[in-house]
Subunit: 346 residues, 4 copies
């Protein structure tokens, strides 16, 4: 254990998000994973035996021999990244926070608790202050849904500069978003599934909290109308979204490209280790962005945008692409932790 580094635990370490946390944290300059916790079924086993490692890089030796612990608040690390399944995340995360742990969670359960911030570090870093009003001895911070994050990164500069009235979005989402084993191959080869349980509601509500204003210990939700339609397609990683926006202020295509290209925020100013240099990358080629080509840009932490054009029904339409298990899950969560550390929360 490196004494300079902050010890962290992973809750739900054997699942696909848990694995991605481990892969991204193996050489992290600030955090060191010292404890792995998972279901009772896995507890007591060596990690290499408890998990079915599905990452494309080999399971690091360091983790392979760690003994998996139960998800109970008696871990030594006081900061926990949660990749827990929503079926259990609610109670476990509350228990940890009550016992003094800081939980940065990828699960949906606490996202709409009044005192729990729902954070995209480039978008609403100020919302972190909500933690101070939490009933917990420690605290809970949540990461938005994988299809929300890429979208809101693209919307943020538009909202700041022109004001957004309405957003229409249709997604084509990667199978990794369903976890592992997730979607049966029989369901998706040569197919599209035009339904993802609960996903549309998340996309229609989460942006309102994220783009909302912090107002003395509560968030005033943004007043934007959103409609979402969510589809699953035969792509491994990378959610593609067709977006339309209606703006409050008249503007031009060139103006919009400019605010996207110039968009920088706190994580870039603080030069956080996982922050992309360019949170938004715009492509001029009509055929871009594509998941196979652009998902790994900025190590999977940027939103790629393309095809900005005028829309007969809204003001503008465009296509976005973001990596759902990096920026949309583990990477986004780690970036929140880096922000918290930089701002002195731990």
């Amino acid at each position: 254990m490196n004494k300079q580094k902050i010890p962290v635990a992973i809750l739900g370490a054997t699942g696909s998000v848990g694995q991605r946390f481990l892969e991204m944290l193996i050489n992290h300059p600030w955090f060191e994973v010292v404890e792995l916790a998972a279901s009772d079924k896995s507890a007591g086993k060596k990690y290499s035996e408890a998990t079915n490692w599905i990452m494309q890089t080999p399971l690091p030796e360091k983790y392979a021999n760690m003994i998996v612990k139960k998800c109970e608040p008696n871990l030594s690390a006081k900061i926990a990244f949660s990749g827990l399944d929503a079926s259990v995340a609610g109670e476990i995360e509350s228990a940890f926070a009550s016992s003094g742990y800081y939980v940065i969670s990828n699960a949906r359960n606490h996202r709409f608790d009044d005192d729990v911030p729902l954070i995209i570090p480039e978008v609403n870093p100020d919302h972190l202050q909500l933690i101070r009003s939490q009933k917990y001895k420690g605290g809970i911070v949540t990461n938005p849904n994988c299809s929300t994050i890429g979208l809101v990164l693209a919307l943020k500069p538009l909202n700041d500069n022109f004001g957004i009235e309405a957003v229409n979005v249709v997604t084509m989402q990667a199978v990794s978003g369903a976890g592992y084993p997730g979607l049966p191959s029989l369901d998706i080869i040569d197919n599209v599934i035009p339904y993802i349980s609960g996903e549309e509601k998340k996309m229609e509500t989460e942006p309102l909290k994220i783009l909302g204003k912090l107002n003395s210990n509560k968030i005033d939700f943004a007043d934007i109308k959103i409609s979402a339609q969510c589809n699953r397609v035969a792509v491994i990683d990378g959610h593609t979204e067709c977006v339309q926006v209606k703006l409050k202020t008249k503007t031009t295509i060139e103006e919009i490209k400019k605010v996207w290209k110039e968009f920088r925020s706190i994580p870039q100013e603080l030069d956080l280790p996982t922050a992309p240099k360019n949170p938004i990358v715009y492509f001029e080629e009509e055929k871009y962005p594509q998941p196979k080509i652009q998902r790994n840009i900025e190590k999977g932490m940027a939103t790629s945008i393309g095809r900005l054009r005028e829309c007969p029904l809204f003001d503008f339409k465009f296509v976005i692409l973001s990596h759902n298990t990096i920026r949309g899950a583990a990477g986004g969560t780690i970036l929140i932790a880096e922000l918290m550390k930089s701002e002195g929360y731990f």
Copy 2:
């Protein structure tokens, strides 16, 4: 040659649409393919040598040994189905029509000629009368784009019953829509391509002509605002489309389902050989329609619909699915020919 049957020729017989014409016409009760025409490169060869047959049923013996002719208006059959590529279809089809042939075409070239009907037999059979005002000795009738047909079938009963003000559509289109060889496999495995050249404009304009009113030898285009976004996904056959509509008259989900389920039109009344019994099939399961599961319903001639629900931005949203190379190309074109025959055009 069956003397009871009407002899027909296929223009562009070696391409993927041409092949589908042959497959669908092999046992047709009214039409018999007696001539195959294609590019100069293919002319003079046996069909089996000139074509790279990609259908999933074997190449019928009957066609295999036919000698391919040039696309010149000296064929014996006076009715021609055209699966020609748009790069050559314009001139060739005009030449045939000028020489007295009836050309029913799948190509885009003449779709917006003032005197050329753009027909979906269930939607605007009356537009056929435009032929009578054509400058040609024969005539040209066109079939809409593959992504337009399924959509307009779904819109027709809505427009008739409630009036449509606006339509927003995002497509996830099958690779067969790009013909053969069409899309390289390197481009689409594990990928989505958010751009199809020319497709969005077709979807934004063709429905206006099809849903327009015939007014003494011209069509008054429908006054509907349409926005389309078109994507290519890793599906063999079947275009999936996420649709939103704004209606002139207030209505309910149940009312809309009712008009869809009850929708019948001239092809059903005439019991045309290729007409689906139910042009629209509605599915209550949230996960439907899916291309792999529903594309072959009604032998590929119906539009499947599902997930009708209210929309925060429009009035309603839903998902449609239709077979792009059957209803959207060869099958739709054959159905037009059946309608023309029934109505005495030949």
Copy 3:
């Protein structure tokens, strides 16, 4: 219930093989499904609620409302098709047979019981006689593994005419062979999995019993050396196999094609309802057979073969393709039942 038809039950009716049985038996001229049995979890529910129907044709009304029963030998139909999972098939099938039922099973459990025939109706119909020596009041007959059937159909005429010494086979198997949910999509998109648990052993041993000789109530296994290597690929249906054979008698490519093309057997002579007219279809085009193109030939009941050529290491090599869930599972099992009925076993 049609009084002319023989009532049958389906064991494991909710699984993917069970569903295929139902799809194939819906209009069967001899058999009528009158009872559906499955796990205790499903028992008592309407079939439409107990199953996640994944066939490409809609769930027939007739089955949708049937109440699923437990897999206990108190069903009224005395003939049962078993699509049970191997984890439970052994005991349940024995219990049914002991109670006087005839079980025709797709599960592996009893395939190597000394007194249980392992049948491909075109290959070893005489082995059925083994039933008469069974200890059961009823009887058990088994259908081979999905990857074995297509192979042995191709080998049978070679063995009869030239004698086989050795067989080498490498498979590329469809995902439907793993059942449902089966293989996770994350595992197979853009991938090959070079391992299928237990599959190679089945392919190296089952052909020896099937091609063996019935010798007064026991089977003398064939003396053929077989090596199998099994892979999973991103194909929905249809197992492709690269095969090499060493023969006892010298022969020619033309001679082999001839014995394949002329191959007919008892099911063809009896004109059984599910029997393919041509059990083996040979393709001369070098690029065939392919799963997408040939899997449905003869309604999925034939083995397609192509690329027969001399081999530097064995005598000949070739490629076969057969539909794993039709000929390789439900269809093969139904054909066995038809053979049993024709030969007076029930």
Copy 4:
């Protein structure tokens, strides 16, 4: 232009192999691409306009603005990497070599010329000496076929230690092996194509030259019997091969794993920039190697092996996986150039 670096040209720069050369050479410590040559159609254009860049990393600025030249031997760089298509490579490469250029080629045309070495740097680095006997003022060196390289890397230690008598191989090859546009998506989604033109002959002959002995200016071909069967599957990158070997000396599984794991050769001793530390990586998990998981190991330059087991027909069988466009094309060719530089050929 870095004066320390050796200037090189790319022939066939706009194709998929040419692009991969550029991607791999962008930061190469020894070589710098100073000229791009391609077909007359591309010559004179900016590279960014002449090519359809399909790599997963963006087109480097440095190349984007270079003007493409004709493939004529008047380039300034005296070393050329050739990714030319076989239809033109033969003559162009001869012309360059005659004019004093060193051509290191990925094309098949000169592979079997008596005086042209066919090199895998870890396998037969000594064959490079053949260049000295070439009729050319410069020289031609060739890289083997993509499916040959991974195989021969695995065979080399077996041949050195135990002697190989016979090899049987069945491949499942990635679509990128067919170049771009290459295989139509309609041909490979939900499919396997059991035929790749010319591929089996390459695999049955190239290893004999590579594993042959240099004997005063000619190669005595190895005396090994090889049979190959080649299939195309829906994988982007990475050829999987099921291999069986018959050895001259009896040995054990453990012994074989040992010689694979310990295998090092000249490129490793010289620490060449593109050389993998471990040319062969063995995996104990039964489900490995898989293209999606292992293709990028050692930056795509290693052969992954797994599933070594005894074979009923040969002595042993196993599965190999290697990256067809890195080790099997551009990367293998660059490694040859590094070897030539190290050994003073230029």
